[in-house]
Symmetry: D2
Subunit: 313 residues, 4 copies
């Protein structure tokens, strides 16, 4: 694709590395959601890092040559949420790579205010996954975790990131529930204290057993699977916090009385990343060295794809 | 019934006034829940005020003649929740009037540590309903309300109390949704800004219309009715807080993706009263004069019932 | 003065009413602070309301004829605080009326993003004081107040506003400490439960007496006077919250051990208004009718000043 | 000393290891504070672990042979703070080892409700210092730390513990300011990112330099030294949190305007440990293995003292 034209407040970035989100798989398979939301032709892709190629005339905080990523949710700046520090849940959000051309190309155009300058100490492999890592950081740090027990249901990439983040932030023990053996193995490598295969073991009973019947202080639901969601609620202790990031594909049945109300539970919906609180925290965690993501960087297919001319690191 | 024997740490209270909880109606009708939970013979009733008749040998903070009510949830003092300031969600809670003899009698026995001394400025009619009023105070004040829009679904006694509490604490506007005309009328008298009959009007649309499409900052679900619960979630704004007190009788279907996750909503289960934070706040609100409960004290049937020998105020 | 030129993102407002801040008195007296900070010629004044006269070419959310006020703190949009939802404490803040031409003129120029559209239900007298009222709302609502005892030291205009706001938000009792008899009288009219003249009464003892020796749950320091500041800390209960808005003119001696550390106190510095959380809450409180500011609107000198041609309401 | 008599709700503990608090040094030196507060004869000492020797007749949660420590602050259970989940700042607190016989003896008597059962996985050396480690955990976790920069002024034992706790909970970078070279070396071993000798370097400038002029997100004041306290406030960023644990020996001068109010800072006094939230979190952190305290266990003098008959581990 040709490099996009940029306006006076835009930044043109030459993509160095990108990663594939579950959302991109939906688009690739052209499912119902994609057919409804995506208006081709579109360059998709919204997780990346790169080098600034050019900046618009009014851009003052970013320079040619900067190593950057970006918050790809474009908030409107005018709605109630945007005017009260909650732009991550903007009423009129548009997403680069879904509603506008994204990063699966040599160049991508980003408004200056969405650019995140990456500390050069952070390797390119990590810099390409700040978007989903940010989902994990947002979810884990949506409440206290230090010195608390924490359970994660669903160990896709974001669930696995969340294990590492929770570990780096003092959660213990960390329970990971995931039926896929390869992912469950990765969960252990990322720092899970107890890895549970819910297709073989009663995941709720496992968490209760390990917590003297109390349940987990914090539960992070990362699967969207109806049964896992229900188990997530059941393994939560009275007065605990459950944060929901996984997206169920349709409404599901919940025992609000037993699992939320009598328990005095706190339930949080998590969307995107806090702009830019989450980014600042993520960067500090990465720089601290406490966050080992290497078990998750399992292959180099994307490098092959993105560097056809042969210059990955 | 004869006055109960008291132990060294107990207080014997002569009941002055009591009120009838929805739970008492379940017992009266002897439904499935009652048949399972209640072990007769039992004196039921758990909302009351009275005068201390006698105190046990080791009681030091309560005296004969004190005007009192009580927190009727007996916490164990030993579980994780009790040891961390969350005794209102004790794992081993027992309730006076359900698991032990209650207040529908001339005398009731209460452990000293559960006694709440009532400021004499508070009238007997109000003092008899501190338990459900406390549920309302706990629910309303489980987050910010001052200067925020607030919707209540379900205007039984606790929902009606919550309107008055929310009004006294600066919420505005206050939406009340309730299909029963008599209760909806009371909702307006208690201070609702907009009274909605959801059997005639689209309650969600009504709240959205009045908030320029944003939704209510805070929603309090007080009905337990499945449809009202779903509407409660739908009328909440992105990033808002919904507190659930009404008890659905069975699991219900929820659109977690649309109503919680993408919205970045906070959902709270509310159980009982914070011991004794809720009581202190309730007392201050009552003493301030800002809390007018008079529309709710609609009759004196309970007085007739409780004082067969003719000595109400 | 001639009407200022506006840029494409600016709004030109015809001033309807303005009010005089303590800061303006400093400038009028040309004290050390003013001589250092203010670079004449300057139109000062930063509390006002008015009608939009004209908007720049790129303005989309404000229209000619709108009734508006404005957040007069211009944040840079680029610093850490601005990028994390804390623009009220921007590192590079500039203030209209101090660092740029203000509202003591027929017209004032405001960037679109700082405009606050006022609900037409709010009278002009109130609309002219949203800036200092916003300071009060920010201070009162910087923590819980409903059902809590609250003490205010210093009853200048913002302290008096704070009494009304605290009252409207369920604080009780409200203690007001102020040596000036006229202001102390106003404090009572605004809703103070106990008015204390600290030049005649021991203010700390008075608060302790009325709270059974516990101290006030919340203290708002609104004077900046060193002795009042120390009393404010001393009248706070263990575990209470003290919010500081009054500006001491120089460093002062504090007993951190006794008044903060052993007490487990929370101390907050309050600066400006949360943009725009405070504005939304303030508007809701004003519309609710619970906030009676009329005792404070004591004269019409400002109207005379602002409408030399004779057209006040 | 002979073993103390225990009552029906008491636990008699055979001391295995104890540690010496700064408070004990005050008593040893018999300074003004000690002469006023301590009423000899008294067994002092309040940091220890041991094995339960005997339990009173009404004790149900502790058994002979249990490995235990204890919260040595005895709260009254009747004051406002005790009744609202804040017993760590009880108005009538008494401390074992200061107001009653302590643990520098073969046996110590503890009320059942103050006993903390130690997980057998925790080594005796660590179990003897849970009291001061708890101070550190309470201070670090009195707000967010994960992904935030954090500065500690004063690296005595609690300051050093705090470095390890902050590191285990995701703070980065961690600045430690301490003039004593031996302690500053320990600070690095405990995990400080930047060790500052404030007698040689401008500590405030050092923190500002390393944070691009922003200041530290969180500051923990652990020295009580007036100059360090002032520096602690100055190195805090706008909107940051400073928690004060070090006890200044007398009132000191603070620039509230510049260092608290304009900054919009949050200041917290920290006293003791949250009972038992802090203990639960501390135990989880110790069990997780993320908390390496070994650099701090520098000698075995205490073992010699405590095991005259020769049976340390």
């Amino acid at each position: 694709m040709p490099a996009p034209e940029i306006g006076p407040k835009d930044v043109l970035v030459r993509v160095r590395a990108a990663s594939v989100c579950g959302t991109d798989l939906h688009i690739y398979r052209w499912d119902r959601w994609s057919a409804h939301r995506i208006h081709p032709p579109l360059i998709f892709g919204h997780e990346f890092c790169g080098i600034v190629e050019k900046v618009g005339a009014e851009v003052s905080t970013v320079r040619e040559g900067d190593f950057v990523s970006a918050e790809m949710h474009l908030s409107c700046g005018r709605c109630f949420q945007c005017r009260t520090g909650q732009s991550h849940i903007c009423q009129n959000v548009r997403i680069i790579g879904i509603d506008a051309d994204g990063c699966f190309a040599e160049f991508v155009k980003i408004p200056e205010s969405n650019i995140w300058k990456i500390d050069p100490a952070i390797p390119v492999d990590y810099a390409a996954v700040l978007d989903p890592l940010g989902n994990a950081v947002h979810t884990v740090l949506a409440g206290e975790v230090a010195g608390l027990s924490l359970a994660i249901t669903g160990c896709g990439p974001i669930g696995l990131f969340a294990i590492a983040v929770a570990r780096a932030c003092g959660a213990f023990p960390i329970f990971a529930s995931e039926p896929h053996p390869y992912r469950l193995k990765l969960a252990e490598k990322m720092g899970a204290s107890v890895a549970i295969d819910p297709s073989k073991t009663d995941a709720v009973a496992a968490v209760l057993n390990e917590t003297r019947g109390v349940g987990a202080d914090v539960v992070l639901e990362m699967s969207g699977n109806p049964q896992a969601v229900r188990q997530a609620f059941q393994m939560l202790r009275r007065g605990g916090r459950i944060s929901l990031l996984g997206i169920p594909s349709k409404p599901l049945e919940l025992d609000l009385a037993g699992d939320v109300i009598f328990k005095g539970a706190s339930v949080q919906g998590i969307n995107g990343r806090r702009v830019f609180e989450t980014w600042y925290k993520m960067q500090a965690l990465l720089k601290s060295g406490a966050l080992d993501l290497s078990p998750l960087i399992t292959g180099n297919a994307s490098k092959v794809l993105l560097y056809p001319n042969g210059k990955p690191e």
